[in-house]
């Protein structure tokens, strides 16, 4: 009689064991020496609720991706033009952005001041950067507008799914009718550089703020690139000026302002 019970038990236990062998996507499997897996130094996206077999209730389930404190200035080297480009944006968001874009816990402009309108006065502080290459064995030079080239990468990564690769507002989201109402940049010629920057930085209407995705330098690069959609010759002026006498004195890497097409002296 004992064997009956024992036999039943053995079968039941082995059934449970076999069951646990089946691939459970929720189980990462066995690991060798778990203490070598867990980093005592803080790593991103790790729950520090358990450290060295001690449960740390305070740390458990706490956010590991934190927002830096207000007014934090990231380090961007010592190049003054770069640093000045990266300093915090001098315009506060409009007062209604608290409810429309969730900007709580930061100082906004008073309700009486419309910073979006003020931003129209801002000029793109970023100068175009060109690079040139001399073909081997010849004197032919090819010029590349580096700013627009990196703008294209940024635009295709961050904007084109809505705004379309040609900036006509026909991105894949629009073609699928997932999203509606993205404007054609061709119709926004009256929009100033500063307002374009403002809209990318803080968002506008149904577009959210993109300041957590791209930094100020990248946004100004994008503003240059978007201008190119509106004006095919945009950014060529500086190049043309350089083409006239590329090797004369000026270092081609330090580019003249695209808005003034003065030939380097």
């Amino acid at each position: 009689m004992n064997f009956k019970i024992l036999g039943g038990l053995v079968i039941a236990v082995s059934a449970v064991l076999l069951g646990s062998c089946s691939a459970d996507p929720d189980s990462a499997g066995l690991e060798y020496m778990p203490d070598m897996y867990r980093s005592p130094a803080v790593e991103p996206y790790v729950d520090y609720g358990h450290i060295r077999e001690n449960e740390n209730v305070d740390a458990k389930m706490r956010l590991s991706a934190m927002t830096p404190p207000n007014g934090t200035v990231p380090y961007f080297g010592t190049d003054s033009t770069e640093v000045s480009l990266m300093l915090p944006y001098h315009r506060k968001a409009n007062n209604d952005f608290r409810q429309s874009h969730g900007m709580f816990g930061e100082e906004l402009s008073p309700a009486s001041i419309n910073t979006y309108e003020l931003a129209a006065a801002d000029k793109n502080p970023m100068k175009m950067l060109y690079s040139f290459e001399v073909k081997k064995g010849t004197t032919d030079t090819t010029w590349t507008n580096e700013t627009l080239a990196s703008g294209k990468t940024l635009f295709n990564n961050n904007c084109s799914h809505c705004h379309g690769e040609k900036g006509d507002g026909n991105g894949e989201m629009m073609v699928n009718e997932t999203f509606a109402g993205v404007p054609d940049y061709g119709n926004l010629t009256e929009l100033s550089d500063g307002q374009m920057f403002y809209s990318i930085y803080y968002g506008k209407g149904s577009m959210g703020s993109h300041r957590s995705l791209i930094n100020k330098k990248e946004i100004w690069t994008l503003v240059h690139y978007i201008r190119k959609f509106q004006d095919k010759a945009y950014g060529d002026k500086g190049k043309a000026a350089l083409d006239t006498d590329p090797m004369d004195g000026q270092d081609p890497m330090n580019e003249s302002d695209p808005s003034d097409a003065v030939a380097p002296e």
Partner: protein
Amino acid sequence: MKISSSQMFRNLNKWRLSALTILLLAGAFNSQAQGGDLFKAKCATCHKVFDDMTGPKLYGVRDRWEEGGAGEEVIIQWVRNQDVAAAMNAFANERISWSGSAMTKFGNQLSDEEIISILNWVDEQVVATANNVGPEGVIGGEGDSEESGLDWIWYVVGGLFVVIILSVGGVRRQLKSADAEASGGTFNASMSYSDEFKQWAWINKKYVGFGGLIIVVGVIVTLFLGLYSIGVVEGYQPSQPIAFPHDVHSGLNGIDCKYCHNSVTESKSAGLPTVNVCMNCHKQIKGEGEQVAQIQKIYDAAGWDGMKYTNVTKPIIWNKVHVLPDHVYFNHKQHVGVGGVDCAQCHGDMTKMNETAKVRTSEELNAVKENIEGEINFTKPTLTMGWCIECHDQKEISVGPINTKDQGKNGYYNEIHKRLLSGDKALYSEYLEDNKVTVKELGGWECAKCHY
């Protein structure tokens, strides 16, 4: 006098409206399509048909304004320039303060007919979402309970088989003893199951011995296979708080991986999108059917009540999928930015995966286009050291952005490459044996590159 003049105006307006309606009915299909296209092109940035967004909902806007005492011509004027409309009508003046952001002044971009065709199109829309929500959600629930029910049935069936086997065994024993009694012999009642088994095994010792050998070998092989699976996380796909379909986002809607995982080019970790990134689109996209409940979780996390942010937020707790041991250093920026590795080469083709992230198997990765083109073939399980080493051995560094002017600015790899090409000829020819320079040949196999 005032009343009568406004009355007249309204009558005149009604007449105009009916005349236009007749006109529109004549070319009905055409103008409706036009209204829809115009709405999407000009209005949808700020207006929705049934919900307030940046601007108020447009459904039934004419009726509402009519009640407030503003006719269609006021609306048309409003679209052109709301300041003029506000000056000419008291109701329009009230609406100026609806939101802090002023409406775009369309001026002469739209004709009267075009504005009316937009309004007609808006009023023809039918609420479509409400009907789809209920039933699909219920179907999902049923599917779940059915699956767990099936599991339970298998246990019952297993239990039944055990009972049947044991009872048949008991019957057999009783029959045997009855048989022995009938034939006059004595049945050894004290003989237990184990004694019986021993007796049977001794008779069939050849088969039992052979069978036993197979079992022992099997157990040893299983044991070793089990040991080899330690630390192998292939196929790991933890359940996540939100059923996020990668194929809809990156496949159908063409969103670049780097838009959501945006720290991949800047940092060690690729980064999970913060909720504000989700809200860049989902502020407008509320989803249909089963999606509604999932997207609601984003709204809860962001503190979005459908109209405005409430500042009551709730973090989403995702489960980490790719966990490397602490003694391995891995940097996304180095691989994606400098090495020019495509996301799919390690994470598989996410544009076709209707699920959250998963540790892909090496077979899945071998099918990825970039790996086939780059002649990278994995044989070791994903996320093991053998797997890393294989790729470092096969990945050619002369492909990818390091050679382009844009990425090669720091000159680090260009310098190494240059020395390799122009320096020691003997060493160079050695490298050129397979006619390509791999990561390994630039020190990609040195221990301290990843372990320090």
